[in-house]
């Protein structure tokens, strides 16, 4: 059965890019979520193309694929992208210890969706000769990282004890028991890569935003004048580690902030990527189900006019298929009372305590 022509064409482009002297530069463009080459593709097809490109990067310039691989391994559920990301990690010369936890967690996530994987061609017709799966690629990556760090199974006991049995058994079987112990299990998760960003274009504050209760006000009215956390999401997101988790984290943040006496002094909002579908009724249900308590300073919003301009102003990493979003990054920002973006999570999942600490600092005089 023929693979759709558009996918075949994209795969040929990736093959040419991978063979070029500047492969790293040419291939990294495939990991921009808003890249126009993905416009109109369904999200599974976007995953196929990205995986193909990521596997090409693993063969040619793995260091250039660290960002994309990290995002997949931290939040992905699909076998193809996870396997390709694992190949990038396995090819790194100096991998970080953080990868071990992330790889084991990814092995647990992919158990329910694993399948055979290959990246020498993009078509999906059955290939009995293939034996690689996402799990086997994650195992190889774990072993490669352990090898690079000189670790043995005992050094990673805590991680392996919590990983799926087949994954742990494969790793334990492959790692040498003769190496000196270098404990990796009490590793400290590095803080999210908070990064300051450029100021927003002032016109964005006039954008009308309707909330879950059908009330419309400008973004400026909702967000300016107090420290704010602003996230982006959509209710049809199928990855529970992205939008659902983000909104649930905002709800947890709201509760923790209230306990610290910050209610009314901060704003917590999330804007949908899919304003045509996410009606106020859907926003209300989605937020309520995840524990948000709506108020004048907390809610879920849809941009009713000027979504494209707002999307550009916030420089959102989101792409669209014919019906809805086909790919997006996790986007959680913290804004100063004057609207400057003072932090963003740079695609990493938000953490309640990290955001709370920032909010407390922003609300503390001096």
């Amino acid at each position: 059965m023929a693979v759709p022509a558009r996918l075949r064409a994209l795969a040929s482009e990736i093959d040419r890019a991978a063979a070029a002297p500047d492969a790293a530069g040419r291939l990294t463009g495939y990991f921009e979520d808003s890249n126009a080459i993905y416009a109109g593709l369904g999200s599974a097809d976007v995953d196929r193309v990205r995986s193909y490109a990521l596997a090409a990067l693993a063969r040619t310039a793995p260091e250039a694929g660290i960002g994309a691989a990290r995002e997949e391994i931290e939040t992905g559920y699909s076998a193809g992208p996870l396997a390709a990301a694992a190949r990038v990690v396995a090819a790194l010369e100096r991998p970080d210890r953080d990868w071990l936890d992330l790889l084991a967690a990814a092995a647990a996530r992919v158990r329910g969706t694993d399948r055979k994987v290959w990246f020498d061609r993009i078509d999906a017709a059955p290939r009995p000769e293939i034996v690689d799966t996402a799990t086997s690629d994650l195992v190889r990556a774990f072993i490669a990282v352990s090898d690079a760090l000189g670790l043995r199974p005992a050094d990673c006991a805590a991680i392996l004890n919590n990983a799926p049995p087949a994954f742990s058994a494969a790793v334990r079987g492959a790692l040498s028991e003769t190496r000196p112990s270098l404990c990796c299990c009490r590793h400290h998760r590095s803080a999210p890569e908070w990064a300051a960003r450029r100021p927003l274009h002032p016109e964005v504050w006039g954008t009308p935003a309707q909330d879950q209760d059908w009330r419309t006000a400008s973004l400026g009215d909702r967000l300016l004048g107090r420290p704010a956390v602003l996230a982006f999401f959509y209710t049809r997101c199928t990855n529970p580690t992205k939008c659902s988790r983000t909104v649930a984290t905002l709800a947890a943040l709201q509760r923790r902030a209230a306990a610290k006496g910050l209610s009314g002094r901060i704003a917590i909002f999330a804007i949908t990527y899919d304003p045509d579908w996410d009606t106020p009724a859907r926003l209300h249900r989605y937020g309520t189900d995840r524990g948000l308590t709506f108020s004048a300073h907390t809610g879920l919003l849809r941009i009713t006019e000027g979504w494209e301009s707002a999307r550009a102003a916030f420089d959102l990493a989101v792409g669209y298929g014919p019906t809805t979003v086909n790919r997006h990054r996790i986007e959680v920002l913290m804004l100063a009372p004057d609207g400057r973006i003072v932090f963003d999570t740079a695609g990493r999942p938000p953490e309640t305590e990290g955001l709370l600490t920032r909010l407390i600092a922003a609300c503390t005089p001096g």
Binding site: P4, A44, R111, D114, R115, A125, A166, W214, P322, T323
Partner: protein
Amino acid sequence: MDIKDYRKKHEDDVAQARASRSAHGAPEEFLGRREADADTRAKMLCKMRMTSRNLGELIPLFLDILGNKSEAVTVRSAALDMLSASEFAGKAFADYRPQVIDAVRALASDKSPTLRKNALEYLAQQRDDYARDILTAAVTAPEEAPVDQAKAIQLLSLDDHTNAADLVRGRFEDLSETAKEEAAYILGTDPTSADKLSEVMVDKTVRERLRRIAAAGLKALDLQRFAERAGVVLVDRGDSARLKAALVSMAQTARPRQNAVVTSALDSAVETARSRTRSKTLKSAAARYFAAQRDKA
């Protein structure tokens, strides 16, 4: 099917399943009865009790049967059913999943139409890339497809993140009546298809069932337009009471917000339809509609 008949059939199915559970089969028994007819062998497979302990023994057996082209279709189909069910039998299934997907992908091009359909149903539920490629091709070139066009569209609709809406909207007029109904379900997930659904909802040249599906889709996408179109149908003497009753029932749970003009026009259209009809179904739908509006007020 009448609701009473449906209930009876369901109760019979449950009773039959209970009875068959009391006599579990074993792989040895199945393998030792190669001379038995296909139906008996299929039933023996379906009686096998799966637990997390014996999955490692049963899944390879089911995979062997699935790949055995000389085995009867009913037996291979039973093996596929058991593989689908084994996903719920324990965590051990996850270790076999890649092999199962591979085996079912191979089945998608089997010469048996039943096996092809069952295989594609399973794979579509898994959001499988290969199945999506086949189903997409089945919509664009139905004459060469392993399943019929309507089934292909129905299976593509299981994932609202594909480009299925684009695919069916562009060739809607060329689809068979049954395929159009499946397509209308997909269009109901696509905000850019509100115009198309709005058009179909009032189109008297198409089957009424298609119009009802289009109405439900439009209601999900754009309440105000749904209300406007429903108003048009409700006062049209040429449309059936059955269609009108369906629209009133849809409107009952979704009054458009913040548009008094549309709301009062819809109330008036429901009242007109109620007063003109002898249909008990439409009259009771209208009564429920007005009762719900009073509750909301």
